[in-house]
């Protein structure tokens, strides 16, 4: 077992985390998130051109001639693949997409629409609502579970650690204008699960050690527990990150955002289990009495 003094840096990393959270919140509030068509409504077209000379500006020009409002065009993986997004969405006209394809083919040559997503304003607001409900519900469920399993000081530590991870992950998405879509919600939920998982492992050990040693202060006790579980923390993070990295690099363009969110979440989840969850136990002055009292009840 290694013996690293994690606890020496509690304060420094707490300040860093606080700073990251504040920056994330500032971006989330003032810049907001870059919602994809799932949550904003509109049309997304993934297209492949047959002509290699087609570039972003050429495609953008052809779309601009169709009066579809603000059009964004991005390269998507291959040389000939592009993602086109615009807010216009027409549910009353079933020929909407077909007309776009015809016009586009006549201006830039044969195009293949590989993927079309067209979401109306009503559906997108419903999806956003259910996404927010899903994340809140899972936070509530985690809180409830940990409350049943542990004492309230532990629950508070775990929940704050999760908030920390989710806020910073979303903050990074806001800073770099990465797209938020349905799969990001799935990623956030998985991050919540993973972060909780990591925290619970350390907390279980803290509780065990609280019973074992009555004379060690919580400040040092958390450090012992972190060190005892450290190899597991590292190994599991590494294997999970290996799997996620493999999705990020080889899983195709569609899964890029999802795997990136997960990678960030795993990194921050691992960090927060050590540097958010534990300092909170210290701050709340958890001692043997905390758990003994609870167990007598």
């Amino acid at each position: 077992m290694r013996n690293i003094s994690f606890n020496k840096f509690y304060r420094k990393f707490n300040i860093l985390s606080l700073l990251l959270i504040v920056i994330s919140l500032v971006f989330l509030i003032f810049k907001g998130l870059n919602y994809g068509v799932d949550f904003k409504g509109g049309t997304l077209i993934e297209l492949r051109t047959s002509d290699k000379t087609n570039n972003i500006s050429l495609i953008r020009d052809s779309f601009n001639q169709m009066n579809l409002g603000d059009v964004s065009v991005k390269k998507f993986g291959n040389e000939t693949d592009f993602i086109v997004k615009f807010e216009m969405q027409n549910s009353n006209d079933p020929e909407f997409i077909k007309n776009i394809q015809n016009k586009l083919s006549s201006s830039i040559g044969d195009v293949d629409f590989r993927r079309v997503e067209n979401v109306g304003p009503k559906v997108s607001s419903e999806l956003l609502k259910s996404g927010i409900i899903a994340i809140s519900l899972s936070l509530a469920a985690m809180l409830l579970y940990i409350w049943i399993r542990f004492e309230w000081q532990f629950s508070l530590g775990a929940i704050l650690a999760i908030f920390h991870d989710v806020i910073i992950t979303l903050g990074i998405f806001s800073i770099f204008s990465l797209e938020i879509n349905l799969s990001i919600v799935a990623a956030v939920l998985t991050i919540v699960g993973y972060s909780m998982n990591d925290t619970v492992v350390i907390f279980d050990r803290v509780r065990e050690n609280l019973r074992k040693y009555s004379d060690i202060k919580i400040f040092d006790l958390t450090n012992i527990s972190i060190n005892e579980t450290l190899s597991r923390t590292i190994i599991t993070s590494v294997t999970t990150l290996l799997a996620l990295l493999s999705i990020y690099l080889f899983g195709g363009e569609i899964l890029k955002g999802f795997s990136l969110a997960m990678i960030l979440g795993v990194i921050f989840g691992t960090y927060s289990s050590i540097y958010i969850a534990n300092p909170i136990l210290v701050a709340l002055n958890v001692s043997q009495r905390t758990i003994v009292k609870e167990e007598k009840d």
Binding site: P94, I97, G120, G252
Partner: protein
């Protein structure tokens, strides 16, 4: 903890083999129905279209209210009760009565046995809410009245949608109700949804109406434009015949004009009506109106009494086929709007499958190598557990014919990454225990026992996230929650049965070695 009975060993092996077998059945063709199960591929992997349609019920409500006014007038006239000043405003029927009839009318409308305002005992509500103000009555649909109306219009619409989709003949379409005004249509393997979209986007209300002799719009006539937008015509509001009377329609070639037309045949009632109208209307122009647009307006040269006819109107063979299909399948009760569409082309689907399998393979390989590097012999045991875990997971998904989506594949890869967690927790605990305990069997036993609650806690939290995702998520994301959730269960099985069995065999055999882990 390290002791396994023979029976247990056999059942673990049998269980694993059966599910691995199902996992493999995806790649092999079997004749037997039971064994030839396959994982369903989601629309994002096999390509296809997902359409969410919403009924616009406003015209239905207006129509029903107009019919209600006629019903009320007739009903109270029979009872010799005077009602006057009927009007329809903001989906509310308004009318007045005279002082001495007021109580009477009120009682009739609020009576639980009422013939004109049906009472639904299950909902404890009338069809209409009645509000009186002096002698003025206003009726509008009650909450449940509206629900029932929407449900019945949804039932009709879904039937028509099903007929139209079936007529086009796609591969196993999936048509489902969503709430009380939406229809979900999933069309797997469909490359080009444009035809189905335009077929579903048409109400297909067909009527035959005479073109008015007058050039001015007046009471009883309406101004309609031609389909091609070239001109307008004043048409009598009286409907001679509607699409309801059609029994068949098909595209044919008119041999005289060499033009593609839609021939139709009428039922007996329709044939009678049509014969009568065309007899009296020789020389007049008969407008054929589809969804408020005139397709064509041929002149009636002679009475048409055979109960069949033709619709001409500059059709191509394709458009004539589509019109015939729409007429055969019947009119929708109300217009449908496509409020969500997701279409994935088959080649993108295949690309996603390839990328998914490649990343699964690489992720799996990396994890396996890392575990061997970290734990040597025990890494091998963990890896065997991991491999059987993967077989079990795919086997269970196959057995239940679950739908695998691209995020679902990501869920499998993630399971691979996280599945070793439980074994790592156990192995690390065993390492700690061996420091104080010289007997390896006792140390291993303790390692398993002491890590158990932590492993359960850790997995339950992820399971909670998967559950919530399953109930809240839609489409591809749901697929992710399924693989993640099932993955946790198979992980626990592979850790506590397969890995533990292998560990115990190894430890018992090598118990005299200096350092096991």
């Amino acid at each position: 903890m390290l002791y396994f009975s023979k029976l247990r060993i056999i059942s673990v092996i049998v269980f694993t083999v059966i599910f691995s077998y199902f996992a493999f059945s995806n790649f092999v063709k079997f004749d037997d129905r039971f064994f030839s199960k396959n994982i369903n591929l989601g629309l994002d992997l096999q390509g296809g279209s997902y359409l969410l349609l919403e009924i616009d019920n406003r015209p239905v409500i207006t129509q029903k209210l107009q019919a209600k006014i006629i019903e009320l007038k007739r009903y109270f006239k029979e009872k010799e009760i005077t009602l006057k000043n009927f009007s329809l405003k903001d989906d509310t029927i308004l009318f007045e009565t005279i002082d001495k009839e007021f109580e009477n009318v009120k009682n009739i409308l609020n009576d639980r046995e009422s013939d004109v305002n049906t009472y639904y005992p299950t909902y404890k509500s009338h069809e209409f809410d009645v509000i009186e103000d002096g002698n003025l009555f206003s009726l509008n649909y009650s909450r449940y009245g509206l629900v029932l109306l929407k449900n019945s219009s949804l039932d009709q619409a879904i039937e028509i949608v099903r007929r139209r989709v079936d007529e086009v003949g796609t591969n196993e379409p999936n048509i489902l109700k969503r709430g009380n005004d939406r229809i979900l249509v999933e069309l797997p393997g469909l490359d080009d949804p444009n035809r189905i979209k335009s077929l579903l986007g048409k109400t297909a209300n067909l009527t035959f109406q005479f073109i008015s002799q007058n050039n001015e719009e007046s009471f009883g006539t309406e101004k309609l434009s031609f389909e091609d937008g070239s001109r307008d015509a004043i048409v009598s509001k009286r409907i001679i015949l509607s699409g309801d009377n059609l029994v068949d329609a098909k595209p044919t070639m008119n041999s005289q004009t060499n033009e593609t037309v839609v021939s139709f045949s009428l039922d007996r009632v329709g044939a009678k009506k049509f014969g009568k109208a065309t007899s009296t209307g020789v020389g007049k122009q008969l407008a054929i109106v589809l969804d408020g647009k005139i397709i064509s307006a041929p002149s009636v040269r002679e009475p048409i009494i055979g109960g069949s006819g033709q619709i001409s109107g500059d059709f191509t063979f394709q458009s004539a086929t589509d019109l015939a299909l729409l007429l055969r399948s019947g009119a929708l009760p109300a217009p449908l709007n496509i409020i969500e569409e997701r279409t994935v082309g088959p080649d993108l689907g295949q690309d996603s499958i390839d990328a998914g399998i490649l990343s699964l393979f690489i992720g799996f390989l990396l994890v396996i190598l890392f575990m061997i590097y970290k734990y040597r012999a025990f890494g091998l045991i963990a890896n065997l557990a991991l491999i059987s875990n993967l077989f079990l997971l795919i086997g269970i998904l196959t057995l239940f014919e679950a739908t695998l989506t691209l995020p679902g594949i990501a869920g499998i890869i993630l399971t691979v990454g996280m599945a070793v967690d439980a074994n790592v927790l156990i192995f690390e605990r065993i390492k700690e225990e061996t420091k104080n305990e010289k007997n390896p069997i006792i140390a291993f036993d303790a390692g398993y026992t002491k890590s158990r609650t932590t492993i359960l806690d850790a997995n339950i939290t992820t399971l909670i996230a998967a559950f919530i995702l399953f109930f809240m998520g839609s489409g591809p994301v749901k697929g992710f929650s399924v693989t993640l959730g099932v993955g946790i269960l198979t992980t626990l099985f592979s850790v506590y049965f397969i890995a533990r069995l292998l560990t115990s065999l190894y430890v018992v055999k090598n118990k005299d070695k200096e350092k096991l882990l």
